[in-house]
Amino acid sequence: MKKTINVNVKHLTRVEGHGNINIKIRNGKLLEAQWEVIETPRFFEAMLVGRNWDNAPWITGRICGICSIGHTLASIRAVENAFKIVPDEQTRKLRILLKHMETLQSHSLHLCFLVLPDLMNAGSVFPLIDSHKDVVVHAAKIKGLANDLCDCIGGRRLHPTRTVVGGFTKLPAKEELAAFGERLKNIVKDLMVVADLFTGFKLPDFTRETEFVSLKGTAGYPFIGGDVVSSDGIQMREQDYKKLTNEYIVKQSTAKWCRLSRESFAVGALARLNNNFEFLHPVVKDIAGRFGLIPVNHNPFMNNIAQLVESVHVVMDSITLIDELLSSKFTEPRQEVKPGSGVGVGAVEVPRGILYHSYEFDDKGKIVKCDCVIPTGQNHANIQHDLEALAEEFADRGKDDKEIELLASMLVRAYDPCISCSVH
């Protein structure tokens, strides 16, 4: 083992939000490996107290710039569960389609703009614009399509305008949807180019056994609501989210940490895939096979590949959803809302993992209590434990400071952390 290693990364780049990595190894002994989250809290849970129910999705969507659609949908589901509103089939399909496009937008941003530079020896995507323009163009095309379809259904690609409790304020025109159906069929080719590119990279060889938590698929790959399952055999309802997350506060982080059966667990694309592989589209299972991604996979770097696999899955599923929407007659997009007292929880699989929103209302529909548990918040403890194992293992393999700094940074990036979201 190398005797001395020092890694100090202040404000890790190419991630959303502010976090530091500190690793100290002396005489071959790991003294410290710390994932530190220093992001400023914004106090969304306090902000909402006393405000009317309709503020909830509008304001909590602002927790995150990357997954604002996911937050808006989790918030809407929580409010609808509290007011006993059941969305109709049309609303349900449009919401999943919208969420799919957020997943595609977020995954392609992460894979091609934030992760790819590490694999191509660059500091950012900017030099790749010159050296690998074709790749950047494919990536921009994929991300652009996803964002355009978010505009079409949600009214806006970030902080959506049409998504409300009870349904939508406005429906897309069928001609628009039909055109997007064609664009989606064409984008599969671009995704395959990205898949081929990633096949050529060797991801770090590192595994650490952990628990994976996600929504549980019943008839298909899960996205909005239902039961929650863990790879350690736990299954609970979404309204029992507190028992599934067990938030606690640690000194090194302004974001809360979570645990379930072990000292930490993981959520996100790899967790969803590990727990729901059988529901993936057949084409997509083949892609997973090319990367040797078979459940249960315990290499955190494979979260990148799980994102790639999910990107193709959501495109295939969106093509089906658009076909179904086009063959049905559009009905009134918005149900009447009758606010009243109650508690509601909404769980949604957003790009980085399972997200919970919970609200308590008084009899006028005023928010009495608000609680949001964020995917990255659920991952922080797991990142910490991975970081310790990774530092020790790779120092043992004779890697130097620079190599360990890169590996540790890549490890944190593999989780695609949304740090400001996790602190909120």
Partner: protein, 267 residues
């Protein structure tokens, strides 16, 4: 970052000057920076206009040698204020990017409580946590230019940056969203039974929310000569409660200077 193709870019036959720009963020969702890279169709053209030297969310290289700093987010802790002052020293032009930077954004909703200890306790219980009342950037440093909105509108950012590069004047509308909404031939949101701050909110978003049948929440702050008192009267006549009106007015912090908003919450 290099962009070889752009080196020959000219405007009216004169070679274009490419300023060094940097992006920074404070307390925010980082969505406004994301909007910059959300311009898939025009992103490469846009990037060729400037030289990005600092953009933590997208690149590892960093430099303190920049002329224009785009700053997203509001200031909620003293270390943020210190970092912002350093950026101010380095930059010739400091641009406040989005509602959080311009007015405090949704973050400033925390300020409506009298007791910050109550706010802390709601989220962290007895655990000590460092936070201060939310400030807009201009409450800490001088701000040269403001780009409004939650989120910012990408077309508007591109236009403003282009005008900075060309040395052209920048005209941000002083008239209200209502004007754009009428020009877009939308049905008035009041006729759809929706509350809307379109008549008093600064335009420039092309009536983004009303185009989607969603009432305006005033994220771009007041239009010139906004008559908030009369707005309240009209909304009341349309049958909206005082609470609904106030919750729209205080949402993004743009109307904080109006006397109608001075009342604080019970905590």
């Amino acid at each position: 970052m290099k962009a070889k193709e752009s080196e020959s870019k000219t405007y009216l036959g004169i070679p274009l000057y490419r300023p060094k720009v940097a992006f920074f963020e404070f307390s925010s969702c980082e969505g406004c920076q994301l909007q910059i890279i959300n311009n898939e169709n025009t992103l490469l053209d846009f990037l060729s206009l400037v030289e990005v030297v600092n953009f933590r969310e997208a690149m590892t290289e960093k430099s303190d040698d920049y002329e224009i700093a785009f700053v997203e987010g509001s200031i909620t802790r003293n270390d943020e204020a210190e970092r912002l002052k350093k950026i101010r020293k380095n930059a010739k032009i400091l641009v406040a990017l989005g509602s959080c930077a311009c007015f405090g954004g949704v973050n400033q909703l925390k300020n409506r409580f009298n007791n910050i200890e109550w706010v802390k306790k709601q989220v962290y219980g007895k655990h000590p946590i460092d936070t201060a009342p939310v400030r807009a950037l201009e409450e800490v440093v001088n701000v040269d230019l403001r780009i409004y909105g939650c989120p910012i509108k990408k077309e508007e950012v591109e236009k403003i940056v282009l005008h900075v590069v060309l040395g052209k004047s920048i005209d941000i509308p002083k008239y209200p969203v209502c004007m754009e909404c009428k020009a877009n031939e939308n049905i008035c949101l009041f006729d759809l039974g929706e509350p809307c701050l379109g008549p008093i909110t600064r335009a420039g978003c092309d009536s983004w929310c009303p185009n989607n049948n969603a009432g305006c929440w005033g994220c771009r702050g007041p239009a010139e000569d906004a008559n908030v008192g009369y707005m309240k009267k009209i909304m009341k006549e349309k049958g909206f409660s005082e609470k609904t009106i106030l919750e729209r007015l205080d949402c993004f912090g743009g109307f904080a200077q109006f006397p109608e908003l001075k009342k604080k919450g019970k905590h």
